[in-house]
Symmetry: D2
Subunit: 342 residues, 4 copies
Amino acid sequence: MIVYVRGNAGENGIASLGDYINGLGGSFHRAYLFEKTFFVVSGIDMEQTCEHPAIEKIFRPGTPYQLAHRELNPEGTAVAVGGAVIGDGCVSVIAGPCSVENKQQLSEIAGFVKSAGAEVLRGGAYKLRTSPYTFQGLGEEGLKILKEVSEENNIPVVTEFTDTRDADLLFQYADIIQIGTRNSLNFPLLQLAGEMGKPVLLKRGQSSTVEEFLMASEHILSRGNSQVILCERGIRTFEDATRNTLDISAIPILKRATHLPVIADPSHAAGDSYLVPALALAAIAAGADGIMVEVHSAPQAALSDSGQALSFSQFSDMMENINKITGAFGKAAHAPLRGAER
Amino acid sequence: MIVYVRGNAGENGIASLGDYINGLGGSFHRAYLFEKTFFVVSGIDMEQTCEHPAIEKIFRPGTPYQLAHRELNPEGTAVAVGGAVIGDGCVSVIAGPCSVENKQQLSEIAGFVKSAGAEVLRGGAYKLRTSPYTFQGLGEEGLKILKEVSEENNIPVVTEFTDTRDADLLFQYADIIQIGTRNSLNFPLLQLAGEMGKPVLLKRGQSSTVEEFLMASEHILSRGNSQVILCERGIRTFEDATRNTLDISAIPILKRATHLPVIADPSHAAGDSYLVPALALAAIAAGADGIMVEVHSAPQAALSDSGQALSFSQFSDMMENINKITGAFGKAAHAPLRGAER
Amino acid sequence: MIVYVRGNAGENGIASLGDYINGLGGSFHRAYLFEKTFFVVSGIDMEQTCEHPAIEKIFRPGTPYQLAHRELNPEGTAVAVGGAVIGDGCVSVIAGPCSVENKQQLSEIAGFVKSAGAEVLRGGAYKLRTSPYTFQGLGEEGLKILKEVSEENNIPVVTEFTDTRDADLLFQYADIIQIGTRNSLNFPLLQLAGEMGKPVLLKRGQSSTVEEFLMASEHILSRGNSQVILCERGIRTFEDATRNTLDISAIPILKRATHLPVIADPSHAAGDSYLVPALALAAIAAGADGIMVEVHSAPQAALSDSGQALSFSQFSDMMENINKITGAFGKAAHAPLRGAER
Amino acid sequence: MIVYVRGNAGENGIASLGDYINGLGGSFHRAYLFEKTFFVVSGIDMEQTCEHPAIEKIFRPGTPYQLAHRELNPEGTAVAVGGAVIGDGCVSVIAGPCSVENKQQLSEIAGFVKSAGAEVLRGGAYKLRTSPYTFQGLGEEGLKILKEVSEENNIPVVTEFTDTRDADLLFQYADIIQIGTRNSLNFPLLQLAGEMGKPVLLKRGQSSTVEEFLMASEHILSRGNSQVILCERGIRTFEDATRNTLDISAIPILKRATHLPVIADPSHAAGDSYLVPALALAAIAAGADGIMVEVHSAPQAALSDSGQALSFSQFSDMMENINKITGAFGKAAHAPLRGAER
């Protein structure tokens, strides 16, 4: 249950409201989002008792997720960063290599994907690899390269945050903080990302339900950070023809359930570059606010995930087809989904 | 391993080839497809031994499926029935109620979906229901209604075949024989459907891999029937926000793997009508040759699957959006996928 | 909702009760089980209306399965056939080859497994194989061999029923009718098996929930056949270290939910013979009424499933360990589970 | 590929070996385990080149996991801590509440479970909860209570490590460091746990394959820590009758694959206390070195996971049945599995 606190309640009014709720036997979590103070209340039902003067209104989402509920921001939340906007009704493309390998590699890729229409550059500096004996990323050196290339190409960067001890480094170098699928239920990491005050790109856990995915975002939102991008990237199923099974249905479900922007990562879902363009188009047709794909200047030589990276020409072709779809639905690419979701 | 038999081999040449293969220690299955005789050979590798005069060429698919391999008909197989063509490069729509309930219901729905652009009418007469105590379909009475409505509306019908004892009835009344997800591994039924000489719409088993799905089609093809439409309809996963998880990746994978047309059934995948249009558009963007959806004149009153049936207005809106996508890619709606698949 | 019909109601009373229920707007299915007539009633709640003289009592299972509910036979149903009893509180072992290959093979295996303690002989005559080009079983010839070996060794046989057209043959030759995992949702086949009046061994579908498994048994029970043995044989998951994932929890869940006996098939779950003994012991420790395993005199030469068949010495060792466990819990091997289930 | 370094190689010999491998174009990871130095070598095959004097022998596991391979310690690794030994051939029981709630609660439970035969006390101080609005554990206060109760009852404790920033605290208070299912792929956390020099109880990720589970242990072993206990706790599947599906097959597979001890957590697998004893017995019959279960003095009032905690009497009954099984197989409870695994 969410209590909207009156804008003029003041700290005294807020404190009084907290006492009031505790007095009724309830507990509450306070969060400041969309320039407004919310109390997420647990343990009591305040239906008959909303007479406290600091209460503007009460909303019962009827779902385990609270602040992520679409009703909190019915027009939808747009995430703006370094010139890019994700969730404004247009389709955004995030592209780049799996791992940052060296400055030349990243510069070349950044220049190309930007010229082809990408709004954000991706690249991993800390890589979570199944084997401790393979390339684990360049670490801080990779972050520095990202920052340099970002500035030289005037494109914001997203990179993965894997260890709470790295928070200061990530804050310094990244524009968007990525939480990967392996850390999707690492709540201390999520909460810390929420406290960093930067946009967070949250990937779905490979065995998370849509509801658990939304609950993971709630850990970030509850820290007062509404700048969260949800990323469907495939779930684990019995099917082994793909690395993961892209859950295309999650896109329209999430668009209806939450105010947060929703993108898809067809590269990690497919695990094979030939499938990526078809899945990217499908995600956009299903209403995604954007896609994140892996692109490499020499896919076969990539230090990680080489099988799924698009070549430059594959990326260009895909962008052309994306433009055909968005063109067909007018400027607001998601119109069909918007229609479907109501 | 597939042996293409020379067109002029004659029955004597074919018999001699069979003896030759047996003599080498191999076994073979003979099938006549695309106006050509094929031998699917097992147990030997004929690389060094293709000197028999009846052999035109030898093809090693390198996959468990043989006759379903794309190489057998590289341009793709189109299924033509009663004026409809599925797999000719355009998007086909199959629509109708889950169950045939009565003639008036079916007539009304058939008239509407045809006017809105559907090429084939669907409707179940034999329903496989989890509970033996719920509506099990009208049986033969339902088949008769289907036939009448088909003729009155000049639209071919697809209906489900659930019991080998019903083969004659199905043959008499149906234009396309549907094998449902529960019977996707019922090989006697598949083989009998293959022998009926009518087009078969084969749904993927809810726990079949893409490869097993292709192997199921092989049971039909091996009976000399190339008129098979593959239908992705969602697989069973841990996710419970949808009835099944539409495996959107299966579409581009199948389009590359096989010559058979591939459609999607978003209704059974989603289990909720609000999701159907978004999934239908996604399937088409991913390269599907068509979709099959449930439509009802009064969805809430449907005798089965009421939650997932589209209303008439939902269906019309969806068709409009489908046309926007196919328009964007020129007449051949699958152009983007065709690009991706090579 | 289940209505227990009074034993002295007579056909007139029963007919009157049917009219009464229809008059209230309900529908009913009549079944005769445990020497008693039951009405499974749908569409109405008869709480306030059980004044009809043919009603003995009313039971509301609160579950989708009705006649399978444990309450219908609280002490548990035992299936007795040809000297074997499954479900009487002792552990039963069903063993034999995957496929009947020839009489000598089956005789040798039958003699051995019986001497080592097996109560029932298994062997497939109709094999559902993923590929249409591999050994499909000996068919009727296999059934005849089964019958001969059964009589010569005085051991009942279980074999798979795969096509409704084979009902007469199966009835003639089999002691227990097996429904395999691929046909677990083939309701016409299940219903026909129910009508044959012979015990049915029903395997769980590879993607069936426990509840769907019970609903499949309901299709048999609803035909007046209470002689159903449920067989857990593994479900399909992402894990590929085994052929299927044995759902060991299903055993105590089923033992509590239903009156039917529950056995496990570790051979098909594991797909590798070295795992079979450990899984067999686990199933028994979890409360199973028995196990079904594949045994072959020369596993590596088996015509199907060669990797999972136990050799004679593996089978003997396993039987010895089973006896240790059953010995530890007294004659009634399932005592621990019985304790747990209440 | 693993190089066993000669015990008398000295730092000079080890350095020379490193240069030698680099010179061949390979890379290596050095680990000290079982009082021996190992080089895990990547990128080259040293079959023809093992002439370096520091090489004792070369082992090719043929699996992605290297140091976890059973061959590294064929008799099996036993983990000894505070009087308890896990993996010595007897069955060990770890028991306690889900969360530490207060000292009185923990004391009462610790006293009881120890008297009934538990060797290790479990209890969470940092809880990873799906919702940020529910009880998140007592944190450091919980660790202090664990330490006090451990000392007063002379029983070692295991508790969960959830954030790399908490390493010093965990080191100070815990006897065994638990890595939970949500962090099973949080490699920085695993590596840090490996460096702490304390035994680690590693739970399987809810969507990890057995191979990925072993690779997670490799991250710990690679830091020179061989004291790792593997805990099967159920995987995520479509089945919703249980919280997770206990993968009983993983037990014999792991016992054969690795030298590490293997236990099962039936509480989190089942999610319902009535199933726990049957699953615990099954795990032991399948060859587990022990079990970990949740026990509470007042299960219904537990602050977390109340549905799955055993009451004191359920725990006592289960322990009695465990003793029956271990008794049946002699002192070494795992004899049946040991037999099965070879």
